[in-house]
Amino acid sequence: MKLFQTALFLLAVCFVACRVPPVPPEVQKAEAQQKDLWRAGAAVFCSQEYDDYTRALTAARHRFEGENLKLGVFRDYDRVRQDFQAVLKSGDELLARVQGIKAQKTEALGEAVRNLRAKMATLDDITLSLTERGNARKRLAQADIYLDETESLMRQAKFEQASAKLSSAGECVRDAEEAVFAFISRYLDRRQVDIWRRWTEDTIAESRTKGIVALVVSKLERRLNVYRNGRLYRSYEIGLGFNGLSNKMHSGDNATPEGRYVIVKKIASSQYYKALMINYPNEEDLRRFAEEKRRGLIPSSVGIGGDIEIHGGGEDTLTRGCVSLDNEKMDELFNLVSVGTPVAIVGTNEVENYVIRAIRKN
């Protein structure tokens, strides 16, 4: 009987001693939270706070392991639960901070990308309208690729690399802007613009005093204005030469000449619909050509060129120096002018031209 009671007593002691309290669920949650934090990049974006978090988690794990070494009946997970709850709280705060930092970086970079794309869109329009076929377009194409890469890296939260690509894109856009300014450097020269303005005013005055039609072609703005009795009567969009913004110097340079001319021939049916031939080269053109030849700037075998016309074929085409209009506009113009109608071809009449205004706006 005594043996039976002793055995029963020992069994009861074993049963009580081996009962294990349940592991706090916070322990498992903390394991998952730690993984979420390093996946979110906490070690990168908040390295100090992440180190503190890791240390607190390690300490909590030690306490947990310490309790696990005790017999089940002596284990007390209350303190363990408190430790892990504190870790989870700090982990949640840290995760929110990391996500906040990533959102801030994304927004800051995103805004910079948007601003640069707006600037590129302006330069894209300008280079197309100027028929700039060189460095500006090339650099804009490169900037476009760098910006696509920037956006891809931002989506991967690789903000440092994205920033570097954005910087490269910015450099390309700056180069494109400088190339545009270089391309139109003559048009920024106040003295040159004053000369063009004088030609325009003199031509309009001639229209007024003689009561005739006169034409003024403004190359930068791509406009042909018709004046009747000194008043603006019609305005048309035009196309120019492959090298239209330059002043024509010689045959084959594809530039559109600048100066004061007259219509010398009306051609009702030409290769480019209707055409109005002007008297290029005039005396000033001949004088300048001779001077450039003397200075060796034009090869001796190259002539001054000619056959400069205002003709149809479309305002969006490129010519070899002529001025082109849409055919319907050419019909109107053909009926308005006659042989002897004055024609002034100028670069621009505005110092603050549309190119400068557009670039400054961005």
Binding site: W38, T58, A141, I145, D148, F242, D316, T317, L318
Partner: protein
């Protein structure tokens, strides 16, 4: 009886000596550090970023355990040794996976480069066919310069491939293909305008 007590005391003394004088597992620590370093050297920071981060965390946890035990009177390094051994085996497993991941990244980058080149060549060929001379649409001329810009980016993408920056090469090649396709579409529209006018 007396001899039994003596034996018991001696046994307790021996246990005391062995447990309090247990040595830190320095060799296993060095092996674990070397294993993680080997993953880093095998470009784990590029091709196994998440796993490398976990290895570093696990290594630190093992070193912390060694440190915690070393401060105790009765030192027990059994758990620390297990943790260090796990770091080594995990690191070896990650390192073994990296070559396959590099190869996959290289294949994807190569495909992206080939696609970009095909689009670039197609846009170039279309521009060659586009009308030249007087009457050309000015957009077509602008696009020749655009393609020149893309050409230099193709060179950069190739340099990235050579430097084994496969993710960078793939990103750039993808962007080039999109731009080249866009240029080809615009050239075709400009060609159609000329044909329409004729």
């Amino acid at each position: 009886m007396k001899s039994m007590v003596k034996v018991l005391v001696l046994a307790l003394l021996a246990a005391f000596v062995f447990t309090s004088c247990a040595k830190a597992p320095t060799q296993q620590m060095d092996q674990a550090k070397a294993a993680v370093q080997a993953v880093q050297a095998a470009k784990g920071d590029v091709y196994a970023k998440d796993e490398l981060a976990k290895l570093k965390t696990d290594l630190q946890a093992a070193l912390d355990e060694v440190n915690a035990q070393s401060k105790k009177f009765f030192k027990k390094y059994g758990k620390a040794k297990e943790m260090l051994a796990k770091v080594v085996s995990d690191a070896d497993a990650v390192k073994a996976e990296i070559p396959a991941r590099i190869e996959k990244a290289k294949e994807e980058a190569t495909q992206a480069m080939n696609d970009a080149k095909a689009s670039f060549d197609a846009a170039t060929a279309l521009l060659e066919k586009a009308p030249k001379g007087k009457g050309t649409k000015k957009d077509i001329e602008a696009m020749k310069a655009d393609l020149a810009g893309l050409q230099s980016q193709m060179t950069e993408a190739q340099n990235a491939m050579t430097a084994e920056d496969y993710f960078g090469a793939k990103d750039k090649a993808t962007a080039i293909k999109a731009k080249a396709d866009d240029i080809a579409k615009q050239v075709q529209e400009a060609i159609n305008k000329v044909k329409g006018k004729r």
